[in-house]
């Protein structure tokens, strides 16, 4: 015990020293930048050059804080491709983990996401809408957004990520409970050649990627990328299985609580995109197979088991200007999801599941500028989940459902300083009927650089096909299961101090009702019903600062109090989350250092125990420019080797799961022009 305290104390001292040094180096660097500004090269040399020559010269982009492109009155957080590289992000979860108030628990096989009071383990990522270039990626079975190695995109293909919390997401529809995440991918011309990349990581991690991107002479912008990831994984030790309670030979049945060779991971990915004269055709595919070491759902521990998720989509989009005052954007899409889970049960042995969903749909969105002081957005969507099928050893069943939606939003400038924004969406679902999601917001700009937004909205989430239709030997389906609702009240204040510094604060109150809850019925079977209310009050603060010499800082703090339907603290909802991201160039701009701290306070487990809080540091070095076509990045995750746990879902024996200690990752890429 004494040793533990001492170790913690030393860690803290080290951290404090570290922070002090960062502050000092930050101050030094800004001072130097000011000194540098004085001896800038003479621009009169530039104006003697012909425009032809200027067009051919390398330009160092002025640093600026990215601006949002999503149509929503919310405090939008943005992560750019520069951040992804600087901080060594490898999955979507890594990116989301850096955003204010978000966290990404790992259940031993699948990464999920929590925020604003929602994040019970086992919920999967069903209460956030994840879009790639406007296509909603949540699958048709679980409504899950895949954010780990099962995610549809290699992060190297991402141009930017926008997180829109709260009801600002109302016009984007279902699943947007605590917000939407909009991913915008790069264009072929951003690569301008063929890039080959190789990665190695701890625990036998390897990944290879080939990306071709180019703007052709006819103007078509083409991108094609293939990658494959392989990971041997670890042997996890779970104390909860280190017993002999079952009366079996403990060495065989539970292997002393060690899951041997059950963390293997493999994921091939394909992504392609062609843009030509306002048309974009795009498709993505990922098939991720991962052993599951946790012995979940009453399965035999340390026995053969895997999760195998395959996701794919194709979309065709058109953006056109119908008249000077009317723009239209329309999309057709097809989505595919296959879940092949295998589990070894004590009674029936090795069993397969084969659950599949296919869906297709279209939407059209208009932006009208007919009136001087109004901006109208309106549109319609139709989605047909024409295959929802479950096949397991208990039987097979098939379902389908459709949703037709209309939405509109008008932003009216009442005065130069005051805007009123009202919007709503109506969904007609074949399985749950009609639902209206309204939202109103006031946007006040007392000064050019200050924005105050107050909003009130109501969002619903349709039950996933799994929640509504799934049944087996112990679970019955509930065709009358209705949606769950959340109303959100939010006040946002944003202050843009200069083009280089922005402060944003947000206060919110979420009230959820009819939450979909799994209960045990008198018959002994389990089923889902609409029951229970919960509420969350929260505060989020976020600061972004950029210096002209390339130093970038983003820090945020989130405080949330989430009360469960039982009137107690919500499971797996930490009260405090702090994020600190600092990156800066060094060695004459050749290498960028990215340092990241993520602090999470303690949270309550399913068994009402406490999972301790933790602070994780990540450190990344990446080359800013290429050297003869080569670039490299090296990352140490969990730099101080902090041992920490995350809350386990209810369907596991374990109450908490151990997370990864220090691990490293190295990537090298080469671009042929």
């Amino acid at each position: 015990m004494y040793l533990l305290i001492k170790r913690n104390f030393r860690l803290q001292t080290a951290l404090i020293r570290f922070m002090a040094l960062i502050t000092v180096s930050l101050l030094l660097s800004t001072g130097q930048a000011q000194a540098e500004a004085g001896k800038a090269s003479n621009p009169s040399n530039l104006i003697t050059l012909p425009l032809e020559q200027l067009l051919d010269m390398d330009v160092a982009p002025a640093s600026k804080i990215a601006r949002q492109i999503t149509d929503a009155p919310s405090a939008v957080s943005i992560v750019t491709s520069d951040d992804i590289r600087a901080y060594g992000y490898r999955t979507l979860a890594d990116i989301f983990n850096s955003l204010p108030g978000l966290y990404t628990p790992y259940d031993g096989s699948v990464l999920t996401m929590g925020g604003r009071g929602f994040g019970r383990p086992g919920d999967y990522t069903g209460r956030v809408l994840l879009m790639i270039d406007g296509y909603a990626t949540n699958d048709g079975l679980y409504d899950e957004a895949y954010i780990g190695n099962d995610g549809l995109l290699d992060v190297e293909l991402i141009e930017r990520v926008e997180y829109v919390p709260g009801s600002g997401s109302v016009i984007y529809g279902n699943n947007a409970f605590f917000g939407i995440i909009n991913i915008i991918t790069k264009n072929g011309s951003d690569f301008n050649g063929t890039q080959v990349a190789g990665e190695v990581a701890s625990h036998g991690g390897k990944k290879g990627r080939v990306t071709y991107g180019r703007q052709l002479d006819n103007g078509a912008n083409v991108l094609l990328s293939l990658s494959i990831l392989n990971n041997d994984g670890r042997n996890y030790y779970y104390p909860a299985f280190n017993n002999n309670a079952s009366g079996q030979n403990p060495n065989f049945a539970t292997n002393h609580g060690v899951a041997s060779n059950l963390d293997f991971d493999r994921a091939p990915r394909v992504f392609g995109k062609v843009e030509f004269e306002g048309w974009t055709a795009e498709g993505g595919y990922v098939s991720r197979k991962h052993d599951n070491p946790t012995g979940n759902y009453g399965s035999l521990f340390n026995a053969l088991t895997w999760d195998w998720d395959t996701n794919g989509y194709l979309s065709l989009k058109n953006d056109s200007v119908l008249s000077p005052k009317l723009k239209a954007s329309s999309q057709l899409y097809y989505g595919y999801y296959l879940d092949r889970t295998a589990i070894t049960y004590p009674a029936i042995g090795f069993a397969h599941e084969h659950n599949r969903a296919q869906w297709a749909g279209g939407d059209v969105k208009f932006v009208g500028d007919w009136f001087d002081h109004q901006k109208l957005v309106f549109g319609a969507e139709y989605r047909n989940d024409f295959e929802i099928s479950f096949h397991n050893n208990f039987g097979a069943s098939q379902f389908s459902r459709t949703v037709a939606s209309l939405y509109g939003q008008d932003e009216i400038s009442l005065t130069d300083q005051l805007k009123f924004n009202a919007g709503g969406r109506y969904d007609q679902s074949s399985s749950t009927g009609g639902h209206l999601s309204p939202r109103v917001a006031l946007i006040y700009n007392p000064f050019l650089q200050t924005t105050i937004m107050a909003s009130y909205g109501s969002i619903y989430r349709q039950p996933s096909a799994y929640e509504q239709f799934y049944h087996d030997a112990t679970a019955i389906s509930n065709p009358n299961l209705g949606p769950e609702y959340v109303t959100t009240t939010e006040l946002v204040v944003q202050q843009q101090f200069s083009r280089n510094m922005r402060l944003s604060g947000s206060l919110y109150h979420y009230q959820a009702r009819d939450l979909i809850t799994n209960v045990t019925l008198p018959s002994g079977m389990t089923g889902n019903i609409n029951a229970g209310k919960s509420h969350t009050n929260g505060l989020e603060l976020s600061l972004e600062r950029i210096w002209d010499n390339g130093v970038r800082l983003h820090a945020s703090y989130a405080h949330q109090i989430a009360i469960s339907p039982q009137g107690v603290d919500m499971v797996n909802s930490p009260d405090d989350l702090g994020k600190f991201n600092l990156s800066f160039p060094m060695l004459q701009n050749s290498v960028r250092t990215g340092f990241e701290l993520q602090a999470t306070s303690s949270s309550v487990t399913e068994l009402r125990n406490t999972a301790a809080g933790h602070t994780i540091a990540n450190l990344t070095f990446s080359s800013d420019k290429s050297y003869n076509g080569f670039r490299a990045a090296f990352s140490v995750r969990n730099l101080f080797d902090r041992q920490y746990v995350t809350v386990a879902p209810a369907y596991m024996v374990q109450d908490t799961l151990p997370m990864e200690g220090r691990n490293v990752w190295l990537e090298v890429d080469y671009t042929f022009k």
Partner: protein
């Protein structure tokens, strides 16, 4: 913790900027100067070419460097506007990023006067801005929207149109 000293010395080596590439602001100012060279104003225009900048001026220093330069026999004068009412008196109007929300009312005020409008935002080309500059692949490029140019009575040289990335 063995690698802490090494890491800390790395941090202390921190950031110094010795970039070879031209800073974006200086390049934009050089572009503005060139746009002035490659545009023809109506004969009634006086001997001063007024380049107006609205409120927030991100490239103040570079702008000062071209103040007073000669452009096709006219003297270039940088004018910093405090309100949008005076925009008609300009020959070139540069709208920085901060002006995006006000673009429409500014264009209404201009009402097709012979003022070359230049913006920082590629998305504004369709709203009636004549030239928009933007970064792509570490180069500064520009798009031209010829409709408002024609309505205003300005003439852009064919060389300028040829060098534009896109002409609408």
């Amino acid at each position: 913790m063995r690698f802490m000293p090494w890491l800390l010395s790395g941090l202390l080596l921190a950031p110094l900027c010795h970039a070879d590439p031209v800073p974006e602001g200086k390049m934009k100012v050089a572009f503005l100067y060139n746009f002035g060279l490659l545009t023809e104003w109506p004969a009634s225009t006086g001997s001063t070419l007024r380049l107006c900048v609205l409120s927030q001026d991100p490239f103040a220093e570079s702008m000062n460097d071209i103040d007073g330069q000669e452009v096709n026999g006219r003297k270039l004068q940088i004018v910093r506007l405090s309100s949008t009412t005076e925009v008609k008196a300009c020959q070139i109007l540069y709208l920085g990023e901060a002006e995006t929300p006000r673009v429409k009312s500014i264009l209404n005020t201009l009402n097709d006067a012979p003022v070359l409008t230049v913006s920082d935002d590629a998305n504004l080309a369709k709203s009636g801005i004549m030239i928009s500059m933007f970064m792509t692949n570490r180069r500064l490029v520009f798009n031209v929207n010829t409709n408002p140019v024609k309505r205003s009575g300005l003439t852009l040289s064919s060389r300028l149109l040829r060098l534009a990335k896109n002409v609408d």
